[in-house]
């Protein structure tokens, strides 16, 4: 039962990240890889505050604002440069955030990470925390679904399909790109606060490149511009992800095996089913 609760909580947190990430990638057509680092910004903001006596709820709010603010700064170059170059910038962003986490030891505790993060009062019990996480996921899904199903969401799709035509029809492309990235960033920040409270310990390793591959694979396997696709993609990946842990291999090998499996899956989907399981668009169209 304990393992089931752990798994549901973990999936709910990652689903929150993945459906948020789906907005700029699937609807706006911006392949950002920096979401894992926005998750780190959210998690560290919440963890630092919570270990200094601030409540989870204020930590959550601060995490959302910090990740939203940082994603605004990250989004600024997206106003003018080509999508491919923006992707390169977001890769650079992962390394910058990692360097800050590892080297700003007085605040982040460097490679040792932050320990002793407490869960919100009233939700210390794993089952209660799982319920809270699922509730946060449902709210995230409801909010973002409303956004992408609105005319605003359609305007984002016009930017994805042809930014020049979108401009010629009166769509402020730069603003639409920034708003989609910041909206996603805020929810990824919220997910970050949940990561910190769930694991009760965070370090740079939690927010490293293997998770970037996992998040990207979930989106691409599920299909771009589809929430149901993102949800199914996450579940499919966890169905592959979890049984690997029970294979009779040394623990050090399991991580590499997971990464290899996700990368292979990503490659196969891009080659043979570019719209994923139920996508409306495809990468690089």
């Amino acid at each position: 039962m304990g393992y089931f609760i752990y798994l549901v909580t973990l999936i709910a947190i990652y689903m929150m990240v993945i459906i948020s990430y789906a907005v700029p990638v699937g609807w706006t057509g911006l392949l950002t890889l920096g979401h894992i680092s926005l998750l780190a910004v959210g998690a560290y903001t919440a963890a630092i505050l919570m270990t200094h006596g601030v409540s989870f709820w204020f930590g959550l709010l601060a995490a959302a604002l910090a990740a939203g603010g940082v994603s605004f700064l990250l989004a600024l170059p997206a106003r003018r440069i080509k999508e491919d170059y923006f992707t390169l910038i977001t890769i650079g962003f992962i390394f910058v955030v990692n360097a800050v986490i590892v080297n700003w030891t007085s605040v982040t505790k460097g490679p040792f990470g932050i320990t002793g993060i407490e869960r919100p009062s009233g939700f210390e019990d794993p089952f209660a925390f799982m319920a809270l996480t699922v509730l946060a996921l449902l709210f995230t899904a409801f909010f973002l679904q409303r956004v992408v199903n609105s005319p605003f969401g359609r305007a984002l799709e016009s930017v994805r399909d042809d930014d020049l035509v979108a401009e010629s029809l009166g769509k402020p492309v730069a603003k639409l790109r920034i708003v989609s990235l910041v909206t996603a960033g805020v929810f990824v920040g919220v997910a970050g606060a949940f990561v910190a409270a769930f694991l009760q310990f965070i370090n740079a390793q939690v927010f490293w490149l293997d998770n970037v591959i996992f998040i990207l694979a979930a989106i691409v396997v599920g299909g771009l511009a589809s929430f149901r696709g993102a949800v199914i993609g996450t579940l499919v990946l966890y169905l592959i992800f979890e049984p690997l842990r029970f294979l009779p291999f040394p623990p050090g090998l399991i991580g590499s095996l997971r990464l290899g499996t996700f990368s292979l899956l990503l490659l196969l989907v891009v080659l043979f089913r570019p719209k994923g399981i139920m996508g409306r668009a495809q990468l690089g169209e």
Binding site: V147, F152, D161, V165, A166, S168, G170, K171
Partner: protein, 246 residues
């Protein structure tokens, strides 16, 4: 006059594509920009539309200086354009494409989030425009399923539906079959009857002769001559830039 272009210049590296170019467009008229390949027609179109920014010169639209406005701001000021090769929102249906053209202010995140909206709310407007422009197709069709000629009509319909006071048409009959060319000719005349202001680029001289009220001839990035089609097509200099000197 609705559009007044003054001393526009644009260079790409060492190449001066447009040099001190000036012309104007009158309201309710069809004005054609013609000239041989490399004369700077598309560059001028992109400068007027805002896809490119001018190195020198000013552009006035409806009396306002729009030189420093971006393309989306010029669109909202009343410019709507088509493309030489139709550009599509390829993952969307015809209806979705048309609704995007009609609906303005859909970048208002919160307003859109809380207000009710219906994909079908503009159907009657869309159907009226399609009927007027002779474009027959189911609104649920994916735009990628359209033939080349249908894409040309689709592009024109989308530009027409986008709220505008001037249409910029980039080679509306390029590559279309003679039947569609004739029907596009009739459409242009119907648009003129409706009082539309049109600035178009076209290589097809018969088409230009049939629809244009005024012709502006470009050569090497500047205006060679302008006037009524009859006068312009009999100008020796125009024949020379098209056919080369004897």
């Amino acid at each position: 006059m609705i559009l007044d272009v003054k001393d526009l210049s644009k260079s790409f590296g060492g190449v001066r594509a447009v040099r001190a170019c000036g012309f104007n467009v009158s309201e309710g008229k069809i004005t054609a920009l013609i000239g041989p390949n490399g004369a700077g027609k598309t560059t001028i179109f992109d400068l007027v539309n805002g896809f490119l920014s001018a190195d020198e010169g000013r552009i006035f639209f409806r009396g306002y200086d729009i030189t420093n406005l971006s393309a989306w701001e010029r669109s909202r000021a009343g410019m709507s354009r088509t493309f030489q090769l139709s550009r599509l929102f390829k993952n969307l249906t015809l209806r979705e494409n048309f609704v995007l053209a009609i609906r303005q202010n859909d970048d208002k995140f919160w307003k859109m989030f809380f207000s009710k909206h219906d994909e079908h709310e503009f159907d009657s407007r869309i159907k009226e425009a399609m009927e007027f422009l002779g474009f027959k197709k189911e609104l649920g069709t994916k735009v990628t399923e359209l033939s080349y000629g249908e894409q040309k009509l689709f592009d024109l319909t989308r530009a027409y539906l986008n709220p505008h006071t001037m249409l910029l048409l980039d080679e509306p009959v390029a590559g279309v079959n003679p039947v569609l060319r004739e029907s596009l000719k009739k459409i242009m005349l119907k648009l003129k009857e409706r009082g539309e202001t049109i600035l178009l680029i076209e290589h097809d001289m018969d088409f230009v002769h049939a629809v244009a009220d005024r012709v502006i001839v470009l050569d090497q990035g500047s205006v060679l001559t302008e006037g009524e089609p009859e006068k312009v097509f009999h100008d020796g200099r125009v024949l020379e830039v098209y056919l080369g000197s004897a």
